[in-house]
Symmetry: C2
Subunit: 212 residues, 2 copies
Amino acid sequence: MSTTPSARAPRRDATENREAILAAAKIVLNRDPKAPLEAIAAASGLSRRSIYAHFANRDDLLRELVSLGALRVASALDTVTHPDPLTRLALIASRLWHEVESVRVMAVLAVRGPLASDTGTALRSVRSSVREAISDGRADGSIRQDVPVDLLARLVEGAALGVLEEAARTPLPAEEGHRLVILMTLGAVGLGWREAGNFIDERPDLQWKDAD
Amino acid sequence: MSTTPSARAPRRDATENREAILAAAKIVLNRDPKAPLEAIAAASGLSRRSIYAHFANRDDLLRELVSLGALRVASALDTVTHPDPLTRLALIASRLWHEVESVRVMAVLAVRGPLASDTGTALRSVRSSVREAISDGRADGSIRQDVPVDLLARLVEGAALGVLEEAARTPLPAEEGHRLVILMTLGAVGLGWREAGNFIDERPDLQWKDAD
DNA sequence: AATAACTTTCACAACACTGTGCAAGTTATT
DNA sequence: AATAACTTGCACAGTGTTGTGAAAGTTATT
């Protein structure tokens, strides 16, 4: 008679396997988002049947995967704080790229596809800080005023996603993508290309840093 | 013993039906791109079985639909000629919007989805004239020089598509979309927002004109 | 009015995949 | 070594769709 009603604790390898499945799914689905469970199972070293021991169904696995990713992204972006709205936006773009470039296909899918609403929930804070940066920038004149804030926020997101999509199709080097996503974000909010380029060059925080 | 080996000519209603199917597909698939043939059949007033009298299979229908659309777009855009590269780009964006805004979902799908290569073939001339405009604009200094021409061409396409995608999700008014797609295109090639806005305002060809 | 062209209806095979049941195996934990 | 936790393999039902076949009906064309 110990603490819990269950006679024994869950085995350690079980949780390891669970993560193996998620890891495999991340890789496999990033290559082909509608790969059958069989493929994921194979990549994880387990049988298809075993997946059902960890996830109720395919959708469950997908949702878990995406929302874990979204949470990771959100927590990485939530620490971005900077008085200048443009810099804030640029930093968000930059970190976003950093977080997501290794799972480009899935990332696009997570935001566009049918899981978009789950992703949306997890990224609510990010979206609202983009919106806020835009509306701040509008106020201080650093951001375009010819497009409504909300619409612009979505277009900015679209611009960043555009780079991501391009990067999902062709193997754009990570460093190039980094600069590009910032350039396009700044472009979307209204900066000219020289302005945007200088903006980046003048700010050390916006330079490319290789992975840890 | 007349001219052709076939004893009689194809019936007129047959070709009408064929077009009814295409028309129905256009509407139905634009609402749900993976709607079953049954749905298209219903919308066209025919039976599912009859579709197979006109198209070998689903893919065939899809391809026909998309490539007809692409041809229409291509022929509408091929008439765009203007000495100034920026204006040329803006005109392309503007006409593009005009041609596809009523089939936003399908348009996005045609360019992104698995039919992309067919679409690509039909739109080759468009793509190359975008590329040319960009490279001309680079030469005369009106377009950004910090991004390689080919990459920029794809990003410009992405920018336009971004507006289209936004427009596919939310019911963006046609007129607003018109201006937006030009603004974003010009933004992508490096113009600042005021520059882009003025650019449009100064040119009568770039103003919104309601449907015929 | 005759005839070929076209459509319909119903039935059915095929496919690719999901999700479940169960018996037999393997492995971590105690 | 005992036991619960986990995995496996196989079989199978279910689903939603595509594509075909064939007989019977309808309609444009001559």
